[in-house]
Amino acid sequence: MKPYTYLLINLLTISVCFIFSFDKKIQFNKHFPAFLKASVLVAIPFIAWDIWFTAHQVWWFNTAYTTGLILLGLPIEEWLFFICIPFSCVFTYFCLDKFFNLRWLSAFNNIIVFVSVIVCVVVALLHHDKAYTFVTAIATATTLIYLHFMVRAPWIGQASFVFAILMLGFFPVNGVLTGAGLDSPIVNYNPKNFLNIRMLTIPIEDAVYGYTQFLLNIYLFKIFQKPADNCEK
Protein backbone atom coordinates (compact mmCIF):
# COMPACT_ATOMS: atom_id res chain seq x y z
CA MET A 1 0.00 0.00 0.00
CA LYS A 2 2.84 2.39 0.89
CA PRO A 3 4.02 2.96 -2.72
CA TYR A 4 0.52 4.19 -3.60
CA THR A 5 0.40 6.89 -0.93
CA TYR A 6 1.17 9.88 -3.16
CA LEU A 7 -1.04 8.51 -5.94
CA LEU A 8 -3.90 8.11 -3.45
CA ILE A 9 -3.48 11.67 -2.24
CA ASN A 10 -3.87 12.88 -5.84
CA LEU A 11 -6.87 10.66 -6.47
CA LEU A 12 -8.62 11.57 -3.22
CA THR A 13 -8.09 15.25 -3.95
CA ILE A 14 -9.67 15.05 -7.37
CA SER A 15 -12.34 12.34 -6.87
CA VAL A 16 -15.09 14.19 -4.98
CA CYS A 17 -14.73 17.29 -7.14
CA PHE A 18 -14.71 15.17 -10.30
CA ILE A 19 -17.94 13.35 -9.38
CA PHE A 20 -19.71 16.56 -8.44
CA SER A 21 -18.61 18.16 -11.72
CA PHE A 22 -21.44 16.25 -13.38
CA ASP A 23 -24.08 17.49 -10.94
CA LYS A 24 -26.89 19.18 -12.85
CA LYS A 25 -26.63 22.37 -10.85
CA ILE A 26 -22.86 22.56 -11.18
CA GLN A 27 -22.03 21.20 -14.67
CA PHE A 28 -18.34 21.85 -14.32
CA ASN A 29 -17.86 19.01 -16.84
CA LYS A 30 -18.71 21.51 -19.57
CA HIS A 31 -15.61 23.40 -18.59
CA PHE A 32 -13.20 20.45 -18.62
CA PRO A 33 -11.54 21.56 -21.89
CA ALA A 34 -10.97 25.08 -20.54
CA PHE A 35 -9.61 23.65 -17.30
CA LEU A 36 -7.28 21.21 -19.08
CA LYS A 37 -5.84 23.89 -21.35
CA ALA A 38 -5.30 26.21 -18.39
CA SER A 39 -3.76 23.62 -16.09
CA VAL A 40 -1.42 22.22 -18.75
CA LEU A 41 -0.19 25.70 -19.64
CA VAL A 42 0.38 26.63 -15.99
CA ALA A 43 2.01 23.24 -15.35
CA ILE A 44 4.74 23.90 -17.94
CA PRO A 45 6.64 26.58 -15.99
CA PHE A 46 5.81 24.97 -12.64
CA ILE A 47 7.08 21.53 -13.74
CA ALA A 48 10.20 23.12 -15.23
CA TRP A 49 10.74 24.81 -11.86
CA ASP A 50 10.10 21.47 -10.12
CA ILE A 51 12.60 19.59 -12.34
CA TRP A 52 15.20 22.29 -11.78
CA PHE A 53 14.75 22.30 -7.98
CA THR A 54 14.74 18.48 -7.78
CA ALA A 55 17.93 18.32 -9.86
CA HIS A 56 19.59 20.79 -7.48
CA GLN A 57 18.19 19.01 -4.41
CA VAL A 58 16.27 22.03 -3.20
CA TRP A 59 13.66 19.36 -2.56
CA TRP A 60 13.41 15.66 -3.26
CA PHE A 61 10.86 12.85 -3.17
CA ASN A 62 10.83 9.82 -0.94
CA THR A 63 10.29 7.05 -3.50
CA ALA A 64 9.04 4.67 -0.79
CA TYR A 65 5.70 6.47 -1.18
CA THR A 66 5.60 6.52 -5.00
CA THR A 67 4.96 3.82 -7.58
CA GLY A 68 8.44 4.14 -9.05
CA LEU A 69 7.62 5.66 -12.43
CA ILE A 70 9.95 8.61 -12.85
CA LEU A 71 9.99 11.12 -15.68
CA LEU A 72 12.67 13.82 -15.91
CA GLY A 73 13.53 13.28 -12.27
CA LEU A 74 9.96 13.64 -11.01
CA PRO A 75 7.72 10.77 -9.89
CA ILE A 76 4.65 10.41 -12.10
CA GLU A 77 2.55 11.36 -9.06
CA GLU A 78 4.26 14.75 -8.99
CA TRP A 79 3.27 15.30 -12.63
CA LEU A 80 -0.33 14.40 -11.77
CA PHE A 81 -0.20 16.84 -8.84
CA PHE A 82 -0.26 19.72 -11.37
CA ILE A 83 -3.60 18.53 -12.75
CA CYS A 84 -5.28 17.12 -9.64
CA ILE A 85 -4.66 20.00 -7.23
CA PRO A 86 -5.63 22.76 -9.69
CA PHE A 87 -8.73 20.73 -10.60
CA SER A 88 -10.12 20.77 -7.08
CA CYS A 89 -9.09 24.42 -6.66
CA VAL A 90 -10.65 25.67 -9.90
CA PHE A 91 -13.72 23.52 -9.23
CA THR A 92 -14.15 25.11 -5.80
CA TYR A 93 -13.73 28.59 -7.25
CA PHE A 94 -16.22 27.80 -10.00
CA CYS A 95 -18.86 26.57 -7.52
CA LEU A 96 -18.46 29.42 -5.05
CA ASP A 97 -18.60 31.94 -7.89
CA LYS A 98 -21.70 30.28 -9.27
CA PHE A 99 -23.69 30.05 -6.06
CA PHE A 100 -22.57 33.15 -4.17
CA ASN A 101 -22.11 36.74 -5.15
CA LEU A 102 -18.47 37.38 -4.34
CA ARG A 103 -17.99 40.33 -6.68
CA TRP A 104 -17.83 42.81 -3.80
CA LEU A 105 -14.48 41.28 -2.88
CA SER A 106 -12.93 43.13 -5.83
CA ALA A 107 -12.80 46.07 -3.42
CA PHE A 108 -9.81 44.33 -1.80
CA ASN A 109 -7.72 43.97 -4.97
CA ASN A 110 -5.61 47.04 -4.23
CA ILE A 111 -4.77 46.18 -0.66
CA ILE A 112 -4.03 42.52 -1.39
CA VAL A 113 -1.59 43.51 -4.14
CA PHE A 114 -0.08 46.37 -2.09
CA VAL A 115 0.66 44.29 1.01
CA SER A 116 1.61 41.09 -0.85
CA VAL A 117 4.05 42.88 -3.14
CA ILE A 118 5.73 44.65 -0.22
CA VAL A 119 6.05 41.41 1.76
CA CYS A 120 7.19 39.30 -1.21
CA VAL A 121 9.77 41.78 -2.52
CA VAL A 122 11.21 42.42 0.96
CA VAL A 123 11.42 38.67 1.64
CA ALA A 124 13.00 38.06 -1.79
CA LEU A 125 15.61 40.77 -1.17
CA LEU A 126 16.44 39.57 2.33
CA HIS A 127 16.52 35.87 1.43
CA HIS A 128 17.93 35.89 -2.08
CA ASP A 129 20.26 33.07 -1.06
CA LYS A 130 17.37 30.68 -0.37
CA ALA A 131 16.22 29.32 -3.72
CA TYR A 132 12.69 28.21 -2.79
CA THR A 133 11.91 31.38 -0.83
CA PHE A 134 13.38 33.68 -3.48
CA VAL A 135 11.75 32.11 -6.55
CA THR A 136 8.35 31.79 -4.83
CA ALA A 137 8.36 35.40 -3.62
CA ILE A 138 9.40 36.77 -7.01
CA ALA A 139 6.88 34.59 -8.87
CA THR A 140 4.07 35.73 -6.56
CA ALA A 141 4.92 39.44 -6.74
CA THR A 142 5.26 39.27 -10.54
CA THR A 143 1.99 37.37 -10.93
CA LEU A 144 0.07 39.83 -8.77
CA ILE A 145 1.53 42.88 -10.51
CA TYR A 146 0.80 41.35 -13.91
CA LEU A 147 -2.79 40.39 -13.04
CA HIS A 148 -3.65 43.63 -11.27
CA PHE A 149 -1.95 46.27 -13.37
CA MET A 150 -1.66 44.68 -16.80
CA VAL A 151 -4.63 42.32 -17.04
CA ARG A 152 -6.65 44.44 -14.58
CA ALA A 153 -8.25 41.24 -13.32
CA PRO A 154 -11.27 42.20 -11.20
CA TRP A 155 -11.29 38.84 -9.40
CA ILE A 156 -8.06 38.96 -7.32
CA GLY A 157 -9.98 39.61 -4.08
CA GLN A 158 -12.47 36.90 -4.96
CA ALA A 159 -9.75 34.35 -5.77
CA SER A 160 -7.83 35.22 -2.62
CA PHE A 161 -10.95 34.67 -0.53
CA VAL A 162 -11.56 31.28 -2.18
CA PHE A 163 -7.90 30.38 -1.63
CA ALA A 164 -8.34 31.11 2.08
CA ILE A 165 -11.24 28.63 2.11
CA LEU A 166 -9.12 26.16 0.13
CA MET A 167 -6.67 26.15 3.04
CA LEU A 168 -9.08 23.62 4.59
CA GLY A 169 -8.06 21.17 1.85
CA PHE A 170 -4.50 22.43 1.55
CA PHE A 171 -3.61 21.52 5.14
CA PRO A 172 -4.51 17.81 4.99
CA VAL A 173 -3.10 17.30 1.46
CA ASN A 174 0.14 19.22 1.92
CA GLY A 175 0.31 18.06 5.50
CA VAL A 176 0.57 14.40 4.46
CA LEU A 177 2.98 15.26 1.63
CA THR A 178 5.26 16.97 4.11
CA GLY A 179 5.10 14.11 6.58
CA ALA A 180 2.04 14.52 8.81
CA GLY A 181 0.88 11.07 9.87
CA LEU A 182 3.68 9.29 7.95
CA ASP A 183 6.96 7.80 9.15
CA SER A 184 8.85 10.24 6.96
CA PRO A 185 7.80 13.03 4.55
CA ILE A 186 7.05 12.32 0.89
CA VAL A 187 8.49 15.70 -0.12
CA ASN A 188 11.68 16.73 1.66
CA TYR A 189 13.20 20.19 1.63
CA ASN A 190 16.80 21.26 1.89
CA PRO A 191 16.88 23.47 5.02
CA LYS A 192 19.38 25.80 3.31
CA ASN A 193 16.88 26.71 0.62
CA PHE A 194 13.80 27.86 2.50
CA LEU A 195 12.84 29.93 5.54
CA ASN A 196 12.28 26.87 7.74
CA ILE A 197 9.03 28.39 8.94
CA ARG A 198 6.53 25.58 8.91
CA MET A 199 2.78 25.67 9.49
CA LEU A 200 2.56 22.33 11.31
CA THR A 201 4.64 20.33 8.82
CA ILE A 202 4.13 22.61 5.80
CA PRO A 203 6.77 25.15 4.74
CA ILE A 204 5.18 28.60 4.46
CA GLU A 205 6.54 28.87 0.91
CA ASP A 206 4.20 26.03 -0.11
CA ALA A 207 1.13 28.13 0.68
CA VAL A 208 2.45 31.11 -1.30
CA TYR A 209 3.49 28.82 -4.16
CA GLY A 210 -0.01 27.32 -4.16
CA TYR A 211 -1.57 30.79 -4.21
CA THR A 212 0.38 31.79 -7.32
CA GLN A 213 -0.37 28.51 -9.04
CA PHE A 214 -4.06 29.00 -8.21
CA LEU A 215 -4.17 32.61 -9.47
CA LEU A 216 -2.58 31.62 -12.79
CA ASN A 217 -4.96 28.68 -13.21
CA ILE A 218 -7.98 30.89 -12.61
CA TYR A 219 -6.62 33.51 -14.99
CA LEU A 220 -6.17 31.07 -17.89
CA PHE A 221 -9.34 29.14 -17.04
CA LYS A 222 -11.36 32.34 -17.43
CA ILE A 223 -9.68 33.05 -20.76
CA PHE A 224 -10.44 29.58 -22.13
CA GLN A 225 -14.03 29.43 -20.93
CA LYS A 226 -16.49 30.18 -23.68
CA PRO A 227 -17.29 33.91 -23.43
CA ALA A 228 -20.99 33.23 -22.77
CA ASP A 229 -20.13 30.92 -19.86
CA ASN A 230 -17.77 33.37 -18.28
CA CYS A 231 -19.96 35.11 -15.73
CA GLU A 232 -17.15 37.47 -14.78
CA LYS A 233 -17.36 39.58 -17.91
Binding site: L105, A107, I111, F114, I118, V121, V122, L125, L126
Partner: protein, 139 residues
Protein backbone atom coordinates in the same frame (compact mmCIF):
# COMPACT_ATOMS: atom_id res chain seq x y z
CA UNK B 1 2.33 60.94 6.95
CA UNK B 2 -0.78 63.09 6.75
CA UNK B 3 1.32 66.12 5.77
CA UNK B 4 3.17 64.09 3.14
CA UNK B 5 -0.12 62.77 1.79
CA UNK B 6 -1.56 66.28 1.54
CA UNK B 7 1.57 67.50 -0.27
CA UNK B 8 1.77 64.55 -2.66
CA UNK B 9 -1.95 64.72 -3.40
CA UNK B 10 -1.97 68.47 -4.03
CA UNK B 11 1.31 68.92 -5.89
CA UNK B 12 2.08 65.53 -7.46
CA UNK B 13 -1.20 63.72 -8.05
CA UNK B 14 -2.83 66.99 -9.09
CA UNK B 15 0.44 67.99 -10.77
CA UNK B 16 2.99 65.91 -12.64
CA UNK B 17 1.14 62.59 -12.20
CA UNK B 18 -2.36 63.88 -12.95
CA UNK B 19 -2.31 61.41 -15.86
CA UNK B 20 -2.71 58.61 -13.29
CA UNK B 21 -5.03 60.44 -10.92
CA UNK B 22 -7.62 61.95 -13.27
CA UNK B 23 -9.71 58.80 -13.69
CA UNK B 24 -10.32 58.81 -9.94
CA UNK B 25 -12.15 62.12 -10.53
CA UNK B 26 -13.84 61.56 -13.88
CA UNK B 27 -14.31 57.73 -13.77
CA UNK B 28 -13.08 57.45 -17.34
CA UNK B 29 -11.67 53.93 -16.84
CA UNK B 30 -14.09 51.03 -17.08
CA UNK B 31 -14.32 48.33 -14.41
CA UNK B 32 -13.26 48.41 -10.78
CA UNK B 33 -9.64 49.19 -11.65
CA UNK B 34 -8.58 52.85 -11.79
CA UNK B 35 -5.26 54.14 -13.13
CA UNK B 36 -5.17 55.90 -9.79
CA UNK B 37 -4.55 52.47 -8.23
CA UNK B 38 -0.99 52.61 -9.62
CA UNK B 39 -0.26 54.87 -6.67
CA UNK B 40 -0.45 51.82 -4.42
CA UNK B 41 2.58 50.35 -6.17
CA UNK B 42 4.33 53.72 -6.33
CA UNK B 43 4.02 54.07 -2.54
CA UNK B 44 5.03 50.43 -2.09
CA UNK B 45 8.48 51.19 -3.54
CA UNK B 46 9.77 53.47 -0.73
CA UNK B 47 8.14 51.15 1.83
CA UNK B 48 10.02 48.16 0.36
CA UNK B 49 13.34 50.04 0.26
CA UNK B 50 12.98 51.31 3.84
CA UNK B 51 11.91 47.95 5.30
CA UNK B 52 14.73 46.23 3.42
CA UNK B 53 17.53 48.60 4.45
CA UNK B 54 16.07 48.85 7.96
CA UNK B 55 16.11 45.05 8.28
CA UNK B 56 19.73 44.91 7.13
CA UNK B 57 20.61 47.47 9.80
CA UNK B 58 19.21 45.48 12.71
CA UNK B 59 15.68 46.83 12.29
CA UNK B 60 16.63 50.47 12.86
CA UNK B 61 14.33 53.48 12.35
CA UNK B 62 14.22 52.97 8.56
CA UNK B 63 12.41 49.66 9.07
CA UNK B 64 9.74 51.34 11.19
CA UNK B 65 9.27 54.21 8.73
CA UNK B 66 8.74 51.60 6.00
CA UNK B 67 6.31 49.74 8.21
CA UNK B 68 4.49 53.00 8.96
CA UNK B 69 4.08 53.72 5.24
CA UNK B 70 2.64 50.22 4.80
CA UNK B 71 0.17 50.71 7.65
CA UNK B 72 -0.74 54.15 6.37
CA UNK B 73 -1.46 52.48 3.01
CA UNK B 74 -3.75 50.00 4.74
CA UNK B 75 -5.49 52.82 6.66
CA UNK B 76 -5.82 54.79 3.42
CA UNK B 77 -7.41 51.78 1.76
CA UNK B 78 -9.87 51.22 4.62
CA UNK B 79 -10.89 54.85 4.96
CA UNK B 80 -10.63 56.12 1.39
CA UNK B 81 -11.53 53.11 -0.77
CA UNK B 82 -13.90 51.32 1.55
CA UNK B 83 -15.49 53.96 3.78
CA UNK B 84 -15.50 57.09 1.61
CA UNK B 85 -15.92 55.58 -1.84
CA UNK B 86 -17.86 52.57 -0.59
CA UNK B 87 -16.18 50.01 -2.83
CA UNK B 88 -18.46 47.80 -0.84
CA UNK B 89 -21.13 48.83 1.66
CA UNK B 90 -19.49 49.47 5.00
CA UNK B 91 -20.40 52.11 7.61
CA UNK B 92 -22.56 53.78 4.97
CA UNK B 93 -24.98 55.08 7.62
CA UNK B 94 -22.50 56.06 10.27
CA UNK B 95 -23.37 58.98 12.55
CA UNK B 96 -19.81 59.47 13.76
CA UNK B 97 -19.08 63.19 13.26
CA UNK B 98 -15.38 62.65 12.47
CA UNK B 99 -16.15 60.09 9.77
CA UNK B 100 -18.96 62.23 8.37
CA UNK B 101 -16.62 65.24 8.24
CA UNK B 102 -13.81 63.52 6.34
CA UNK B 103 -16.30 61.95 3.96
CA UNK B 104 -18.02 65.29 3.34
CA UNK B 105 -14.68 67.03 2.75
CA UNK B 106 -13.52 64.34 0.35
CA UNK B 107 -16.76 64.58 -1.59
CA UNK B 108 -16.10 68.31 -1.78
CA UNK B 109 -12.68 67.49 -3.22
CA UNK B 110 -14.37 65.36 -5.86
CA UNK B 111 -16.74 68.14 -6.89
CA UNK B 112 -13.82 69.43 -8.94
CA UNK B 113 -13.28 67.19 -11.91
CA UNK B 114 -10.19 68.99 -13.22
CA UNK B 115 -6.58 69.12 -12.19
CA UNK B 116 -6.62 72.74 -11.00
CA UNK B 117 -8.70 74.59 -8.40
CA UNK B 118 -8.98 71.69 -5.95
CA UNK B 119 -9.74 71.82 -2.26
CA UNK B 120 -9.52 69.45 0.71
CA UNK B 121 -6.41 67.53 -0.30
CA UNK B 122 -5.96 66.05 3.16
CA UNK B 123 -7.13 62.60 4.05
CA UNK B 124 -7.46 62.02 7.80
CA UNK B 125 -7.34 65.74 8.62
CA UNK B 126 -9.51 68.15 6.62
CA UNK B 127 -10.36 71.89 6.99
CA UNK B 128 -11.85 72.75 10.37
CA UNK B 129 -15.18 73.89 8.97
CA UNK B 130 -16.12 70.30 8.09
CA UNK B 131 -15.48 69.11 11.61
CA UNK B 132 -17.45 72.07 13.00
CA UNK B 133 -20.32 71.23 10.66
CA UNK B 134 -20.79 67.73 12.08
CA UNK B 135 -19.64 68.15 15.66
CA UNK B 136 -22.15 70.99 16.05
CA UNK B 137 -24.95 68.80 14.74
CA UNK B 138 -23.91 65.93 16.95
CA UNK B 139 -24.54 67.97 20.10
Amino acid sequence: MEGATWFIHKYIMHGLLWVLHHDHHDHSTEGPFEKNDYFFVIFALPAIALIYFGSLNYFNYLFYIGLAITFYGIAYFLVHDIFIHQRFKYLANTQNPYLLAIRRAHKQHHKHLGKEKGECFGFLYVPLKYFKMYYKNAK
